[in-house]
Amino acid sequence: MTGIVRGITALGAALRTRIAALGFFTRFFGRLLGASGIALSRPRLVSQQVHFIGNYSLLIVAVSGMFVGFVLGLQGYYTLNRYGSEDALGLLVALSLTRELGPVVTALLFAGRAGTSLTAEIGLMKAGEQLSAMEVMAVDPLRRVLVPRFWGGVIAMPILAAVFSMVGILGGYLVGVQLIGVDAGSFWSQMQAGVDVWNDVFNGIVKSVVFGVAVTLIALYEGWQAKPTPEGVARATTRTVVAGSLSVLGLDFLLTALMFGN
């Protein structure tokens, strides 16, 4: 009997902790949005972050995009060739990248590269009393440090996703057209005719913006809540990758169902 009571108590406590954490997270998001005026009054703070965060991830995003494009070119050709439709390779590569792979893979890479940097930076600033110092200087650290990083991440994500898709299409072209010998005219014309700006490109941009909000928010929240110790910062960094990646995949399913479902 005692065991059952203990089990129910533990379950209740775990549930309560989760709900409280969700509440903190939501309030944190609200505070970030509420303090976002600084992004307009001092846009330089945001542009600096777009530059830093974008730079963190640019190389890895571009290289990954190239390899994903190579693979899409190869796999797409093998499959389409069975049905004599290899001319549609350009369309397949472009749709795969703009609708799904561009936003999703970029967001996963972003969580691993820039997300972890953001969490570690905020966590270490906390551990080094930098955030407390700011507070006693009458400067709100959430407004001064977190808000520019948040908007920097949100703005950088669609740009990086666009770079990923662009380089990926180039990779597909190199493998499909230059290596295998698919007709270049068909490759580009099928892509041009089949890719819709609103349905495909715009929806892909919307996805990458949503992923940018989710991953940057998680990274900043984890850094903000991190215990100010080396172990605490290390754990927070790991949580950023796990929570960030899972939320990207979960949100992708939801968004895909909303955007492309009948």
Partner: protein, 277 residues
């Protein structure tokens, strides 16, 4: 003709019957102290005696469990956030670890409060920051990154940053820790000079008896959860109080125990480990 009446100037910092702590644990109780403009006051005590806790109460980071903390005459209890920010703009704080912003260089660290709270033109910012860096002997280090300077230099940069807005109340948490003898003497004189020149109240939280006694107008000694003694450096030096004498002379025997007291929790832990009490 009506008689001209001027309101008495409240002390920069006043604590009345203050108890401070974290959760259920009370660190200090019944603390009374007052620091007026132009005064240099040293708060001394052993490690873990609650000196930094006092500083956190003065900056409004830690609410008092009981009693009243007043800064520039304003009670911090229940103070609106906007008003607290206004009071903090009149304060400067030197943190124990310096707390320099690692993403900014030395110059930008010192310029930070000016950029956030003033609309000075860039030439004025450059001149003011270099002036303050010159006072701490680091004018020529303005271009360096924080990672390129030593711990002692970082504390001097933090000192320059704490006073760049020429505040009315400056709180120094261990200002002499990690400084070489030359920097130590210069820093002590700088604190005294700043107080005399600007008329600001200075609170030093320190272990360094010699330097703080040479510049302080008054000394408060905290320990065992309470205020143990208060007075001028001379009265404290001459006192026969065994606690004060042991602290000032660094004697191993006396009312201050060097060893952490044995608690039932420790005895239980030791028994589990198979150790002897």
């Amino acid at each position: 003709m009506p008689e001209s009446t001027s309101a008495p100037v409240p002390p920069a910092l006043r604590l009345t019957g203050v108890s401070l702590g974290y959760g259920d644990f009370t660190v200090l109780r019944g603390i009374d102290m007052s620091i007026a403009a132009g005064e240099v006051v040293a708060i001394m005590g052993g490690s873990g005696s609650g000196k930094t806790t006092l500083l956190r109460a003065a900056t409004g980071q830690l609410p008092a469990l009981a009693g009243k903390v007043e800064v520039f005459g304003r009670d911090l209890r229940g103070i609106p956030a906007g008003e607290l920010q206004g009071l903090r703009q009149r304060m400067g704080v030197l943190f124990q670890q310096g707390a320099l912003f690692t993403d900014l260089d030395v110059f930008e660290n010192v310029a930070f409060p000016l950029r956030e709270h003033t609309r000075l033109p860039e030439t004025d910012i450059v001149s003011r920051v270099l002036d303050k860096l010159d006072a701490v002997g680091l004018r020529a280090a303005a271009h360096l990154k924080v990672s390129e300077i030593s711990g002692g230099m970082a504390r001097r940069v933090a000192l320059a940053r704490a006073v760049v807005l020429e505040p009315e109340l400056v709180l120094y948490d261990e200002p002499f820790a990690g400084l070489d003898p030359i920097s130590l003497g210069i820093t002590a004189r700088l604190i005294r000079d700043l107080s005399d020149r600007l008329g600001c109240a200075s609170v030093l939280i320190t272990h360094d008896i010699e330097e703080s006694f040479s510049i302080a107008d008054r000394v408060y000694l905290v320990g065992q959860g309470e205020l143990k003694a208060a007075g001028t450096p001379r009265t404290l030096s001459d006192t026969q109080d065994p606690y004060v004498r042991q602290f000032l002379r660094g004697e191993p025997d006396g009312p201050v125990a060097f060893h952490y007291p044995v608690t039932p929790a420790f005895e239980r832990w030791l028994a589990q480990r198979g150790g002897r009490p």
